[in-house]
Amino acid sequence: MAKSGSRVWSWASAGVLLVGGLLMLMPFIWMILSSFKTPAEIIHTPPTFWPSDPSLIAYKTVLTRAPFFTWFANSLLVAVVTTFLTLLTSGLAGYIFAKFEFRGKRFLFVLILLTLMVPFQVVMIPTYLIVAKMGLINTLWALIIPSAVSAFGIYLCKQFIEGIPTDLLEAARIDGASETRIFFSIVAPLIRPALGALGIFQFMWSWNNYLWPLIAVNEQAKMTVPLALSYFNTSQHGARYDLVMAATALIVIPVIIVFLIFQRQFIKGLTLTGMKG
């Protein structure tokens, strides 16, 4: 049914989208090009676009001057543990809210949903005081524990688990399966798509988080990647952008690779929020 008029339209809109996509990519291209410039070229005026003498010296300097691997390790550890805990708590709580009854259940669930509307700045000060009281400031636990329970995760899992026929679970109970067995062997595998999406979502959120680590951590050795980048940027006082861009590239490229690999699950997770909302 495609008339020639709409064919032109399709080509034109595809072209516009491609140009737009290129514009989206431009800052990243600029980042990479700048990271290959020599120290002399980066301060050269007028500035150049392409590196005239591409070299890896900026990367070498960054990797030797800054504790990059520590930062990466910190971010990785925090993200992995937080994601694992979130999946566990969201799955369990979602299951209980979906398939069990108890007094105050509705009230509690509404309460959980309401917290989704609360900006982080509202809770950050008391959370800091609580974590400080627990003696966990400047530890990686400070970054993990407050994020272990996710209201969004609980909501998502509850929605999914409601679709599981209760008779299936009852049959398992009659067969003598324990509740934990039912959860881990029956329920969890059935909500794997939700858990996958939630997991990716949580991982990237934890990896990219800035404000809370900024508050909770100020030792270089305990920093996560975004925080460390900010400190590194400030430490260069706006002069050595070759180093800053190299550091940024080292941080951005792995994340982008992870995103491209898990694209499907990530986007599915995003749309789950928009659809069920």
């Binding site: 491609l18 800052p27 009854e101 000060i125 861009m245």
Partner: protein
């Protein structure tokens, strides 16, 4: 993707099921399971979600600095001082400026892009471009802020380089009062628009093709199809996007702190930055908490108003 609900929801063991020859001990494992799993989860939730919200409100009534052993209760003094504080009022104004500009632009750019992507026939092209538009969102916001700070560099940055090729003089993007906020808005849109494009796209994909076919048979052209099929059926998604984007932009912090830190002359000082600085740089935690309560009230009011307004116009279910 509607979840299938069973006609009769099974209730737990607390309700009288047909009392067969079920030994009492069989009830215990279930309640034990519920109590055992829910207690730590709810405990963490109360400790890190509910308690801080309440504590913030209480803290706002004290003059609290981290070093003071016994903070004095000062009632609503913090709130009174806030609304006489020119910096706070400026922060409020800047935040509104940011939200009122960035939210509409975001949505008005995201929707056409999503529509364009949706109309692409080739799956690989559509998915590839979608990934491209989402790339800035996948990266940490600090990275985006740092890259754009360099982009905006008056001497070495890409922006002025491009301008000089067009014969225009150099602009001090982040350092001039008139251009600082728009510069931050531009960066925020770049970083953020991927979310809304993806969600719009998902909303578009769920609209059944039959509606378009029926409209085409009735003689509707592209624009009419958009107005009478797409827009109404997208209203739920649009409402969601509007509220979520607004909530997110009310709290904007990272890029402002990194790119301008409120300057020049507090023209980009937003509420998020005001709260952070007062709490953790000036250790005026009571004062900062009061400001955060204002942010909370603002967020809730604007959310509820929007939801109410949208409920009146959103009636399309299918």
């Amino acid at each position: 993707m509607a979840s299938t609900r069973l006609p009769a929801k099974r209730v737990g063991p607390s309700v009288a099921a047909p009392r067969l020859a079920r030994p009492k001990s069989l009830f215990r494992p279930t309640s034990l399971f519920v109590a055992g799993s829910l207690t730590p989860i709810v405990g963490l939730f109360l400790l890190f979600s509910i308690l801080p919200i309440l504590a913030s409100i209480v803290l706002a009534l004290f003059r609290y600095s981290a070093i003071d052993p016994s903070p004095p209760f000062i009632g609503l003094a913090n709130f009174v001082n806030l609304f006489h504080d020119p910096l706070f009022l400026k922060s409020l104004g800047n935040t509104f400026e940011f939200v009122l500009l960035a939210v509409p632009i975001n949505i008005l750019v995201a929707l056409p892009i999503a529509l364009g992507l949706h109309s692409l026939r080739l799956r690989w092209l559509r998915d590839g471009l979608r990934a491209l538009y989402f790339l800035p969102t996948a990266a940490p916001i600090v990275a985006a802020a740092v890259i754009w700070a360099y982009l905006y560099e008056p001497t070495g940055g890409l922006m002025n380089m491009a301008l000089s090729h067009l014969g225009v003089g150099r602009v001090v993007w982040l350092g001039a009062e008139k251009t600082a906020m728009p510069s931050i808005i531009a960066m925020s849109l770049w970083q953020d628009i991927g979310y809304n494009i993806v969600i719009f796209l998902a909303g578009l994909e769920v609209i059944p093709a039959v509606f378009y076919e029926a409209a085409a048979i009735d003689g509707a052209n592209r624009w009419q199809q958009f107005r009478h099929v797409t827009l109404p059926l997208l209203s739920r998604t649009s409402a969601f996007i509007l509220v979520m984007t607004m909530i997110s932009y009310l709290q904007v912090f990272a890029q402002v702190q990194i790119m301008t830190n409120g300057g020049p002359h507090d023209t980009t000082r937003v509420l998020g930055l005001f709260i952070y600085d007062n709490a953790f740089r000036y250790t005026r935690m009571g004062y900062a908490s009061a400001a955060s309560v204002v942010l909370l009230v603002l967020t809730m009011v604007m959310t509820l108003v929007q939801l109410w307004l949208l409920k009146r116009s959103t009636s399309w279910e299918y």
